[in-house]
Symmetry: C3
Subunit: 343 residues, 3 copies
């Protein structure tokens, strides 16, 4: 698994500066890479690091930047080129082959030819697993689940009955898709369960991070669009609809029936309450709470800045009295106006 | 699995308007249901949707509303009736029967007669599983665990030793009950573990959402009351006590030794710090932090409203200076009072 | 499993007051312990409970406090002594022995002699499990993983390829270590995945709570120092570095490439954005958002206090106008100064 600089340049449609025969064995950082690694400079702010880098070569945006290093590949978008090169250096990360004998697979499930199913996987009736999938150890695939071609499901994932996954998806360990949405009718004696009769539809090229949960719909389906990227420990409630290519960072939570547009970026820890609409191209900053629909693209935030706890305590106490403060100001304005006009 | 409108009306103690022989095959929404489905109108706000619904029939509250549709069931509480009907249309969601041969079950465990145990379940010594339970694939049931009758444990759940679950509970995939509470004594060299010697007691009719965690007590038990409903990814720390019929939405977290009353509703992402008492019938809105005990029923909130990020940044900067603002106001009040009295 | 008071005193280097032959069978609380249990009083605030305690004996700090009870052990740090005694009363919590026949273990894995591997564990090639480890049922150990001696891995844990765990670690159920960091390069068509080629290095004596996730690094490794204690449902993103003996409470989330010092305490629900540096001995209070580096030890907070929802709504509405309020105050100051100087 090593390449010449010229080979790598060809893969990213870039131009070599320096030694085209330099052998590259992996990727590294500007700060601590080795002479056999290639890295990238995306943000010109870190340009000064080029001079001192220990990397063998660097992906840069223009000839000027390439002057600072001996070997470089000049390419339009260094970060994107770096992403492309990252695919070349993936190690062999598991060694199971075919369908392991320890698996328990219903005779009514349909498994395509070249699928790898690691040990102790359980697959219920009527499930369909298409060509080129890798299913990690300990996964439980429910009745009637469909998994499109070339998906990689990591170990210990649970897919409830009738969940549908598109092609080229990556689902990380601990993910649960299709558990019951949180739906109960209140009575004086307690809560009456509303059986969740919908399912979950996941598009193509979706990645879902470890321990994320996506609930099945109450009546209709919860839907995740094509190209959506979801980080770890995200909670997506029943009947949520997420548009194509939206990215959701760790620990965000989206309550029931909310519809999110395409190309949104939801930062970590964000909460979005139920039954809202979020437009396309909306960005929400970390740990904000969205409690109203957002109809216009742009960046949105809530919360307060961090302070030393002592000072914060005073601010928080004052904030409880902000309504009084506003009234004091109004009164002062009236008084001063009176004084000014009388004067 | 289909019913006449008359049959459904009988089940919910309602009255048919229209064709009693209409065949209903499932549940649908007002917006996109089919002529073979029944839906409901709970909130009169959406009354206008009745006129255009494609549903075959609708659960409504009174005769007046039923005029807008051809077929209806008139019933006191349409949402509750809908919940009742949802039980009729649950599909066959798994096909395992009896105790799968792949399971590893200690000879010292006690499994009642008509229990379904899906493949690859592991049950340690002295566990007791009562009548009518369904245990999903890949579950691990620790030593001495007790599971009451008619529980449904979904796949890949982990119950640590000595955890006790009541009857008629539903536990979703990825749940971990009985892991060690987070207890350490500080020393200059680091943290000394306090072994967690209590357990977890879960009442009857409790539902626990996917990937939720409930820790075992340090000395005494963590306790979840009857009829409690817990959503996904909720964290309940050691020695928490939760009263009957309280509902806790996704991603909420309750720190150690806090006692929560009955019939509370804790919204998504709420945090409750440790050693507090929360009265009965308290509602906490989404993502609020509860840092003091709440002794009176009612609704409570913290946090700030969402704003465009630019405007939010100015607000947050001002908020850091709110203490100064309050002092400026006081000074102005003194000065203006002086001017007024002098005048 | 019972001890005399004298035996316990010796273990904690304390001094007996009362009956040295009192038999102690377990730990209890001041409020509801039994005559065969020992408890502790750490906080003098609860001193009044000594008089009424039903415990057989109490760990206390000085002779004066011991006067209130018949039997006591006088010891410098009662809470630390209690932690030490908690190790004596751990019950037999699992009964599997050796390597269970149901496990699927690659012939290229190396398992030390006295290791317990519970049923249905899957271990891939080149994994190394050292002496004295206990691996819970259903764990999946990836290719090339190393687990140091005397680790306890609870059931249903997933360790991705090449993850390295030190000695004496405790990892609770549902934990996922080494899943891909959330790294994508944006393009007009969507997100291009950056393969995550680093791994995760975990030090010695680390404890990791249930359903916590720690992602592998993009290029270099994510690193968790010695003695770090992590609670449930914590999310640690790629390339985070955590210093020795830092403790992180439930549901906290740390974004990519952030470096946290030693002996920090991060409370529950805290969010720390990416690429920051946090000094040693920093404390962050519950649910705060850290969006800038913290270079000085101390306690830090963000957020607002809890209020009844009605009052909170008014405060939140006022807060949106705080910038205007500040301008009103400035204007008033100018006007009043003018009035004062003119007067």
């Amino acid at each position: 698994m090593d390449y010449t600089l010229a080979q790598l340049a060809k893969k990213v449609e870039g131009r070599v500066k320096g030694d085209p025969d330099l052998r590259v064995e992996g990727l590294g950082t500007l700060e601590s890479g080795t002479p056999n690694q290639i890295g990238f400079l995306a943000n010109p702010k870190y340009q000064s690091q080029l001079a001192s880098t220990t990397l063998g070569a660097v992906l840069v945006k223009d000839d000027e930047l390439s002057l600072a290093v001996e070997n470089a590949i000049i390419v339009k978008n260094p970060y994107l080129a770096f992403a492309a090169l990252s695919h070349l250096f993936v190690p062999t990360f598991q060694q199971w082959e075919g369908v392991n004998v320890s698996c328990v697979i219903s005779k009514d499930a349909t498994i395509a030819e070249n699928v790898i199913i690691a040990p102790n996987v359980v697959i219920d009736a009527d499930a369909v697993i298409e060509d080129g999938c890798v299913i990690g150890a300990g996964c439980v695939i429910g009745r009637g689940v469909r998994i499109g071609s070339k998906c990689h499901i990591y170990p210990n994932v649970t897919l409830y009955h009738d969940v549908s996954i598109g092609a080229d998806c990556i689902i990380h360990s601990g993910v649960v898709i299709g558990a019951d949405g949180f739906g109960f009718a209140p009575t004086k004696k307690g809560w009456e369960k509303i059986n969740q009769l919908g399912s979950v539809e996941i598009g193509n090229r979706v990645e879902i991070g470890a321990n994320t949960t996506i609930d099945r719909g109450a009546i209709e389906n919860t839907k995740i669009g094509d190209g959506v990227k979801i980080d770890n420990q995200v909670q997506i409630a029943h009947n949520v609809v997420i548009g194509d290519n939206t990215a959701i960072a760790g620990c965000a939570a989206i309550a029931g029936s909310t519809k999110i547009g395409s190309f949104c970026t939801i930062a970590g820890g964000v909460g979005i309450v139920g039954h809202l609409k979020i437009a396309d191209c909306v960005h929400i900053t970390a740990m904000s709470l969205v409690s109203k629909s957002i109809l216009k693209e742009g960046s949105y935030s809530s919360g307060t800045g961090l302070e030393p706890t002592d000072k914060w305590r005073r601010s928080a106490a004052r904030l409880r009295r902000i309504d009084d403060m506003a009234k004091q100001i109004s009164k002062l304005e009236q008084q001063v106006n009176k004084l000014l006009t009388e004067g």
